[in-house]
């Protein structure tokens, strides 16, 4: 009996742990005055439209460090295809004078930029944010 319990315990330890659910979260600097942002404002922000917080415009940073993250950004945040997003950005920048979101291909650069500007807003995997006290999550955008 004791041997059986030991085997069961061993199996429980050896069996692969169920992967934790992944989440994509909207993040800002820990110093940011931004506390909450609804989904429409998020779309406006990443389409280049000016979104003001206490009179200051937020600065969108697009995270392009992960292709999957890119797909989630298009499907969940701006809710359009890549060509359409490119067209909208082009139209907004050229016709309306909006700002093109700054793109970062490396997470470290993105985090640095995010920490440097309290009005910067970006998105990333929740697991990447968990151990960084200088970055704050303000909204869950997508969960697996």
């Amino acid at each position: 009996m004791r041997r059986l319990l030991a085997i069961l315990l061993l199996l429980c330890l050896v069996a692969p742990a169920r992967p934790a659910s992944q989440e994509v979260v909207l993040v800002v600097s820990a110093d940011s005055p931004l506390q909450e942002l609804d989904s429409v404002s998020v779309r406006k922000l990443f389409l280049g439209l000016p979104v003001l917080i206490k009179g200051s415009p937020l600065r969108p940073l697009r995270n392009r460090s992960d292709p999957v993250l890119d797909e989630i950004f298009l499907q969940q945040i701006v809710a359009m295809s890549q060509p359409n997003y490119d067209r909208q950005i082009l139209i907004g920048v050229n016709r309306q004078g909006w700002l093109r979101p700054t793109e970062y291909g490396r997470s470290s650069d993105l985090v640095a930029a995010l920490q440097a500007d309290p009005y910067a807003v970006s998105f990333m995997w929740e697991r990447d944010v968990a151990h960084n006290p200088r970055i704050r999550i303000i909204r869950v955008l997508w969960s697996d």
């Binding site: 499907q75 969940q76 359009m80 295809s81 060509p83 909204r139 969960s143």
Partner: protein
């Protein structure tokens, strides 16, 4: 010829087919991909926007009436036509649209058109609520987009097929346009090669290279025609020259033969004259010594008459051989002795022979002996009369002016031409070559001496002229006598001319 057409066409079409075979499949695949991606992009774009809208609408719903209003939103989404699956769930329970088609929903969402192969695009949005988050999941039907893509790809395929067909047709037409003038050019070249060098090469093509080829071939043809004509002309000239040379040789031989015969005959005539002189002298002396009216006197008279005929014959032979003592040459008008001779001929020829005389009004002075011209006309007229004696005919005598004599052995200058033509039986070429030879005759034995034309030849030659004859058996004969015209000085100084 056909081989050229088919070869060019087949080659051109083959090249086009090879190019199309290399280009059309990737082109079709590329266009199909663009079409497919375009439809997919539009589908994904619209469903993302729509699902986001639904999620935002659900997020705006709050309060105890959430389930009922959320169900209304889900049903509304299904009724829009595109959505075939719609549900809202949280950790405890699920709210699903009752009018949606019951389909299997995989646990994972789609991120691309056609993911998971179930022909439904699933998308899930997180809806933040005040108490706890919920998740709205929508499934969009991919079949209409797949059908539109298939229709568009079929249209692309049809367009490609039309493009291939039109390309082959254009290639065939182009090969025909190129080959047709070349075939015409080839046919024309074959005609030229076959000897038809006078057909102009004109293919009427608008292709510059073909036009230039046509131009050069036409230039070659013209050069060939020119060379042929020059060659033909040269051959004709050589033939004429050869004929003239042969004619001159023949005339030279003839003249030499006549001259030889004349010399021989002249020598014989001299000797004969010397022999006849004592015969005639002693016969006359003997006649004076014999009684008149006797038989002996009669015999002597016959001897004397025969001797006179013999001397006459000798004189004619000497005339032919030009050793006769000519009278002093004088300037006379040619018309006068001719008319006198014709008057005499009119007396002796029968009525079935018509004598016609024509002469220009101008004076035709000739230096020589008028009596000899008279004899020439008599001899030629007599011959003509003999040729027409049986059937009758027309004896024509004409005078005219000739600038050059036909015989190169006489001096060039102005000549008067005396032509005597008859419509008698004519002469064969074999006879013509001997007619000026002495004692040559076609008459029966005893009917002629064969000296008439020899004497004419001797007279004309002694006057510095020339004589030719044309004859055609069955049609008649024409003698042309060229006598040198007297110069102005000879006419005004007849004495000086006579002494010269």
């Amino acid at each position: 010829m056909e081989r050229l057409v088919s070869s060019l066409s087949v080659r051109l079409i083959s090249v086009v087919l090879v190019i199309l075979a290399a280009l059309v499949p990737p082109l079709y695949l590329g266009v199909s991909a663009i079409v497919r991606d375009g439809y997919a992009e539009r589908f994904v774009n619209s469903l993302r926007a729509y699902s986001r809208l639904v999620a935002d609408e659900l997020e705006a719903i709050d309060g105890p009436d959430f389930e009922r209003r959320a169900l209304a939103v889900l049903d509304s989404a299904v009724l829009s036509g595109q959505v075939v699956f719609a549900e809202v769930r949280d950790d405890t329970h699920t709210l699903r649209s009752t009018i949606a088609t019951p389909v299997y929903a995989p646990p994972r969402d789609d991120f691309h058109f056609g993911d998971q192969g179930d022909q439904i695009y699933f998308i899930t949005h997180r809806v933040n609520r005040s108490d706890h988050p919920v998740f709205v999941r929508l499934g969009f039907d991919e079949v209409p987009t797949l059908e539109r893509t298939a229709v568009a790809q079929r249209r692309v395929l049809i367009a490609m097929a039309a493009f291939v067909a039109s390309s082959i047709a254009v290639a065939a037409w182009l090969s025909w346009v190129i080959a047709r003038p070349m075939v015409r050019l080839q046919r024309a070249a074959q005609r030229v090669a076959g000897g038809d060098t006078h057909t102009q090469l004109d293919v009427g093509s608008s292709i510059r290279e073909v036009q230039e080829l046509n131009y050069h071939l036409e230039h070659m043809r013209r050069e060939l025609v020119g060379a042929n004509e020059r060659l033909s002309l040269e051959i004709r000239e050589r033939e004429v020259s050869e004929q003239k040379r042969l004619d001159l040789e023949r005339r030279l031989l003839h003249r030499e033969r006549i001259a030889t015969i004349g010399t021989l005959a002249g020598g014989v005539a001299h000797e004969f004259n010397n022999i006849m002189t004592p015969v005639l002298l002693y016969s006359q002396l003997a006649l004076e010594d014999v009684p008149a009216g006797g038989e002996l006197a009669d015999y002597l008279k016959r001897v004397i008459a025969a001797a006179h005929r013999a001397r006459s014959l000798v004189m004619r032979i000497l005339t032919f051989s030009r050793e006769m003592d000519l009278q002093q040459p004088t300037v006379f008008l040619l018309r006068a002795p001719v008319e006198e001779a014709l008057a005499l001929l009119r007396e002796i020829v029968p009525a079935n022979i018509e004598i016609v005389f024509s002469a220009p009004l101008e004076a035709m002075p000739v230096l020589g002996d008028a009596s000899l011209v008279h004899q020439v006309v008599i001899n030629l007229g007599t011959n003509a009369y003999e040729a027409m004696r049986d059937a009758g005919g027309r004896l024509a005598v004409t005078l005219s002016v000739a600038d050059d004599p036909p015989d190169s052995h006489v001096e060039p200058g102005r000549y008067h031409l005396l032509e005597v033509s008859d419509t008698g039986h004519g002469m064969e070429p074999a006879v013509l070559s001997h007619i000026f030879e002495p004692f040559f005759t076609t008459r029966e034995v005893g009917e002629g001496t064969g000296l008439g034309l020899s004497v004419v030849h001797g007279i004309v030659t002694s006057m510095g002229g020339a004589i030719t004859v044309r004859s055609r058996p069955g049609y008649g004969t024409t003698f042309a006598v060229y006598l040198p015209a007297a110069s102005a000085a000879q006419r005004h100084e007849p004495a000086a001319a006579a002494s010269a």
